[in-house]
């Protein structure tokens, strides 16, 4: 009898705690949003004091429903915590979706906030919608994080890769497709990864001697942008202040480009360090310079320090003034240097995951849906 009372009290306290924690999270979807919130589960969410700081560990499992008559291909949720990082924000993007009308789908938000104890007691987390991309490439949302471009690029990559895998299926049947999926898994496992830190400003923070290193460029035959010159300052495991010169060799004006940045260390290993983006207005035949006053640092976990020796740049994507995009073709990505460092696309990763769970038949069935 007494133990029952204790259990009830514990349950009540748990409910109160859960309610208090969920009150710290606010989900806001506009009234005309193409998705509606069906449920939200805060499972293992907790708020604990750690030394002089308060840690909010938020695990939200949201279930959203497509309330439109179009199929959803991708969605971006905007996550802000003004009390913790007044200007900083986060986003959760789910791509390679195929959500039909009235179908529901899950989105996970795993967030950790660390703030001083003496800061305000409440740490409200706001989750909102930044954009939804449909199968006809139409878009809905405030697009504060340039989600339209990100989701459109992902959708183009998904279409390119599905087309490629379908061609393999048509060419050599399931064995050929399986061979390619297995190659993708091997490549993904072998791909070197690096932890990256971005340091404010362009000042090197270590004591290694700094040197200017010229970019080598990987020429992609059908790229609308041609990088003509470039350099960055290298000091030990830091790369800073990249400066690139590019030329629009297409017959259409360009408004956005992204240059992938491959670093080579003294041992000859190559890593994809990041990307140098630029919003510009580049008429056909025109040249422009891209400058970034930022430092990237590559801390090595449990090993010797990375010593950067060389750099290679390549055009990773381009957006034209009319909103259409260019991405490298599968043939471009087959270049050995790119193949070594580039991660598979979102769609390729999704198909590999289907292969892991359902085998080659599952992948074939998935490809046949499109």
């Amino acid at each position: 009898m007494r133990s029952n009372k204790i259990c009830l009290a514990a349950c009540f306290l748990g409910m109160l705690m859960s309610g208090a924690l969920s009150a710290a999270v606010s989900i806001h979807l506009p009234p005309d949003s193409p998705v509606v919130l069906i449920s939200s589960d805060y499972g293992d969410t907790s708020e604990t004091a750690r030394g002089g700081a308060m840690l909010l560990d938020l695990h939200a499992a949201l279930t959203l429903r497509n309330s439109t008559q179009r199929r959803i291909r991708g969605i971006t949720l905007l996550v802000t915590a003004q009390a913790v990082t007044p200007g900083g924000k986060g986003s959760v993007t789910v791509t390679s979706l195929d959500i039909g009308p009235n179908e529901s789908f899950p989105v996970r938000v795993d967030l950790r906030l660390l703030r001083p104890l003496q800061a305000s007691g409440e740490s409200p987390v706001l989750i909102g919608l930044d954009g939804v991309l449909f199968d006809d490439l139409s878009f809905y949302g405030p697009d504060k994080l340039s989600s339209r471009r990100t989701l459109t690029l992902c959708e183009w990559e998904a279409r390119r890769d599905r087309k490629y895998f379908k061609s393999l299926l048509a060419e050599g049947g399931s064995p050929r497709l399986q061979q390619e999926i297995l190659a993708s898994m091997t490549h993904s496992a072998d791909r070197p990864t690096l932890d990256v830190q971005m340091i404010r400003g362009g000042r090197a923070t270590n004591f290694e001697p700094e040197k200017q290193v010229q970019f080598a460029f990987l020429r992609l035959p059908d790229s609308p942008i041609e990088p003509t010159d470039g350099m960055a300052r290298i000091a030990g495991n830091e790369a800073r202040s990249p400066r690139l010169e590019v030329k629009n060799r297409s017959d259409r004006p360009i408004r956005y480009i992204e240059i992938g940045w491959i670093l080579k260390d003294r041992g000859g290993r190559e890593f994809l360090a990041g990307s140098v983006p630029a919003d510009l207005n580049l008429a056909p035949g025109q040249k422009s310079q891209i400058l970034e006053n930022t430092t990237l640092k590559f801390p090595q976990r449990g090993g010797g320090q990375l010593a950067i020796e060389g750099m290679t740049g390549f055009v990773s994507n381009v957006q034209f003034a009319d909103g259409s995009v260019w991405i490298p073709s599968r043939a471009d990505l087959g270049a050995p240097q790119l193949q070594r460092v580039m991660a598979p696309s979102d769609e390729e990763q999704r198909l590999v995951q289907i292969y892991r769970k359902n085998g080659i038949k599952g992948v074939v069935a998935e490809l046949n849906k499109f």
């Binding site: 200007g87 986003s91 967030l111 990307s275 990763q349």
Partner: protein, 215 residues
């Protein structure tokens, strides 16, 4: 009764005894008529001597005495200088020679040490040392290089296979993800860090990103 000796009595008569001896002799003299008469005789003789010496001799030539004293002082000074001149060249020459030799030895030893050190130190350490020396030359010691601590790194975005985070004024916002094979980390120099993973449960491809405020 033991009588004070003649010296003690003479000193007592002149008032030159110490406190304790003066008290002891006075006590004895007050009781001993023989010693009292001796002290009296000594005092009388002392007064007579003082009276005699108070009168200066008539033929003393004070001018010649002063000149003689001045001459003696000059001779003393000249002798001191002569002795100093005699010692100086030998001593200075010896010290100077030894100093240069010592300096040469120290310089040679330093050169050998530096050469050996430079030959044996690996290239990265050489570069490091050169940079440090260059900084000492270009940045004056005690000069504030920038507004913040020079050693302090101002990391604002971090992306690793464990998650991504944005830091601001000691506060951190991180987006984490469940363990997954093929996690891809990316950073955009405009000010965002991202991590992409495949959710093993749902099969969905999710990309978490954090954005730095200044972008």
């Amino acid at each position: 009764m033991k009588h004070p000796n003649e010296v003690q009595l003479a000193l007592f008569a002149g008032g030159d005894l110490g406190y304790w001896d003066r008290w002891r002799v006075r006590r004895h003299v007050s009781r001993c008529s023989g010693c009292e008469s001796e002290v009296q005789a000594l005092r009388t003789a002392g007064e007579q001597v003082r009276e005699l010496t108070a009168e200066l001799p008539k033929d003393v030539n004070w001018q010649s005495l002063a000149e003689e004293m001045t001459g003696n002082i000059r001779v003393g000074l000249a002798a001191g200088e002569a002795i100093a001149r005699f010692d100086r060249p030998a001593t200075a020459g010896k010290a100077s020679g030894l100093g240069w030799n010592a300096a040469m030895v120290v310089a040679c030893a330093t050169a050998v040490f530096v050469a050996g050190f430079w030959i044996n130190v690996p290239q990265p350490q050489k570069d490091h040392l050169l940079t440090a020396l260059r900084r000492i030359r270009t940045e004056r010691i005690g000069t504030l290089v920038s507004g913040r601590n020079a050693g302090q790194e101002d990391v604002v975005l971090e992306a690793s296979s464990f998650g991504i985070e944005v830091k601001e004024n000691g506060r951190t916002m991180s987006l984490t993800h469940p363990a997954s094979p093929g996690v891809t980390v990316s950073i955009n120099m405009k000010g965002s860090a991202g991590v992409r993973y495949v959710d093993a449960d749902t099969g969905q491809v999710t990309t978490n990103k954090v954005y730095y405020a200044e972008q």
